[in-house]
């Protein structure tokens, strides 16, 4: 089953100096681990929210604003997409992401259209 692991962290609390180097290395190790298991599908880090632009279309008008919509404590800083066995597997992977130590990881199952033939997951839980 495919899951998106969304990494939320407080940008002000991001490690700096040596700690930043250590965290970078830890992310590299995690990426290698999921690649070696053959379940890695995608993963990227995002530039901070100061570079973000928000777009909305209201009454046919495109409204563009600077930054994220709401002032939130934790902002999306990056993500992985993995093809995990089940939610327990995804939880274990999420706990290994370095950002989980100071931020939080949100696990979202991917909406699989035509799940019957598309998914490589085992039929666990209440398949249907």
């Amino acid at each position: 089953m495919r899951y998106l692991l969304l990494i939320y962290t407080q940008e002000q609390l991001e490690p700096t100096g040596d700690a930043a180097g250590a965290e970078f290395a830890a992310y590299g190790a995690f990426t290698n681990e999921v690649r070696d298991r053959g379940i890695y599908q995608a993963g990227e880090a995002l530039r901070p929210t100061t570079t973000a632009t928000t777009v909305r279309v209201r009454d046919g008008q495109t409204v563009t604003t600077d930054g994220p919509f709401a002032e939130t404590k934790e902002a999306l800083g990056g993500f992985y997409m993995v093809d995990a066995t089940d939610l327990d597997d995804a939880i274990q992977l999420a706990a290994k992401i370095p950002g989980a130590k100071h931020g939080s990881i949100e696990i979202r199952p991917i909406f699989e259209y035509g799940a019957a033939e598309g998914s490589s997951s085992e039929a666990v839980g209440a398949a249907g």
Partner: protein, 426 residues
């Protein structure tokens, strides 16, 4: 044929005892909560219709399992026909997925597949109590699928509208399916944490049924009974888990006092005022045996410690015989595992009983200074009681007044009002 018994009574009893087991097995085979539940309910309805005229089968449990399986196959075939029609409407993808995932020919024609594996109920317990589900959903799902309680029964027990509870169940089942919550007993490295979660759900169900708050008393009693029954199932399935034994012991040791803890008008009777002759001795003995078995495994945990405290209360022939020193020590051990202010408050009360109100008050005042329990009525009631015993009447009156401000429970208000009048006049 069994001896002639009322088929309705047999079906009722069988439903309580067996429906969880049959549902658990069918969920494994079918991979679908709703289909399994519906099929099992239909099987029990069929039993109610046919057993009175044809007699009760030799092995009613196996009969239910076979009938439920057949009903499930019928339902799947019907779904398949529906799917053929739906295809014309261009909606094949969704329904095909449903049918393919639970292909009747592939998975349930083999008789051996529906032979109950002991693990099925264990799998179901761990799935229903998965930490990715909200705690109220875990409780509702456990009672519904394992306990065989109806949606209206659970709704009444938790004082929520039936619609709310039904939605809670639907959402929980949908999350199990869509988020890929596995249907299995967790691997060893996850087991301690996950078992702890299961024990908490069962203890919550028990307490909901045991607590003196409001709600339908009969249904509440049913909750406690159900929690104890599921506790027994868990102990049967995991006999080497001391905390599972500890939980069952804890529930039995409390439940033994059930008859004595309410008076004629349904009012709460405090432990020290209870008629100890009305305590259920066989329950206490059973609880103590389970606790001793658990303690011999030498892996102590919060459930065992709380059971040991309950056992010490049950052991005392009169309130004065209570071994408060030992109880204070057990609370201290519990605090090391669960450092919460509530545990500390309980320890303070035990210390006051063992060493005198002054020693207890020092601990309670430290809690007051901590501020965490400021809106917890029992903190102020406990403090008031210690001040009263020390003869510090005006301070006691202030603390009773604060406790009264925070309590909605009528029985407790009556009790606190009485004490307040006593210190105010004294």
């Amino acid at each position: 044929m069994l001896p002639p018994t009322d088929p309705h009574a047999v079906v009722d009893q069988l439903f309580r005892e067996e429906s969880g087991r049959v549902v658990a097995t069918l969920i494994r085979v079918l991979g679908d909560f709703d289909l399994a539940e519906e099929a099992v309910q239909e099987a029990f309805l069929t039993a109610l219709e046919t057993w009175p005229s044809r007699g009760i089968p030799d092995n009613p449990g196996a009969w239910i399992m076979t009938t439920a399986r057949n009903r499930a196959i019928d339902r799947l075939r019907r779904r398949k026909r529906l799917a053929e029609k739906a295809e014309l409407l261009g909606r094949e993808a969704a329904i095909e997925a449903e049918v393919a995932a639970v292909d009747p020919e592939a998975s349930i024609d083999a008789e051996s597949d529906v032979s109950p594996i002991a693990d099925d109920r264990l799998r179901l317990i761990f799935t229903c109590c998965h930490p990715a589900l909200a705690i109220d959903a875990r409780v509702a799902l456990t009672l519904r699928t394992l306990g065989g309680l109806s949606t209206p029964e659970i709704a009444r027990a938790f004082l929520v509208p039936e619609v709310t509870l039904a939605q809670r169940l639907v959402r929980a089942k949908r999350k199990i399916r869509d988020a890929g919550i596995p249907y299995r007993v967790p691997p060893d490295h996850d087991l301690p944490e996950r078992l702890d979660g299961v024990l908490r759900v069962l203890y919550l169900v028990f307490n909901e049924g045991y607590g003196a708050s409001s709600g339908d008393r009969l249904i509440r009693r049913e909750l406690s009974t159900e929690a104890i029954r599921l506790g027994r199932v868990l102990v049967d399935l995991m006999p080497d888990e001391p905390e599972a034994l500890g939980l069952l012991a804890l529930m039995l040791l409390h439940d033994a006092r059930r008859e004595a803890r309410t008076g004629g008008d349904g009012e709460l009777v405090l432990l020290e005022d209870q008629d100890r002759g009305r305590w259920n001795r066989p329950r206490i003995d059973e609880g103590r045996e389970l606790l001793e078995r658990a303690l011999r495994m030498r892996r102590v945990g919060p459930m065992q410690l709380q059971a040991a405290i309950a056992a010490l209360h049950d052991d005392a022939e009169t309130p004065a015989d209570t071994d408060w020193q030992e109880i204070a020590g057990l609370y201290a051990a519990l605090r090391r595992i669960e450092p919460t202010p509530i545990v500390e408050l309980n320890r303070a009360v035990a210390v006051a009983m063992a060493l005198g109100p002054e020693a207890g008050l020092r601990l309670v005042d430290a809690l007051v200074a901590g501020g965490e329990l400021d809106t917890y009525p029992y903190l102020h009631a406990a403090r008031a009681d210690l001040l009263r015993r020390l003869g510090r009447s005006s301070e006691a009156a202030a603390a009773y007044t604060r406790a009264l401000e925070l309590t909605a429970n009528e029985a407790e208000r009556t009790f606190l009002d009485g004490r307040l009048a006593e210190v105010a006049s004294g």
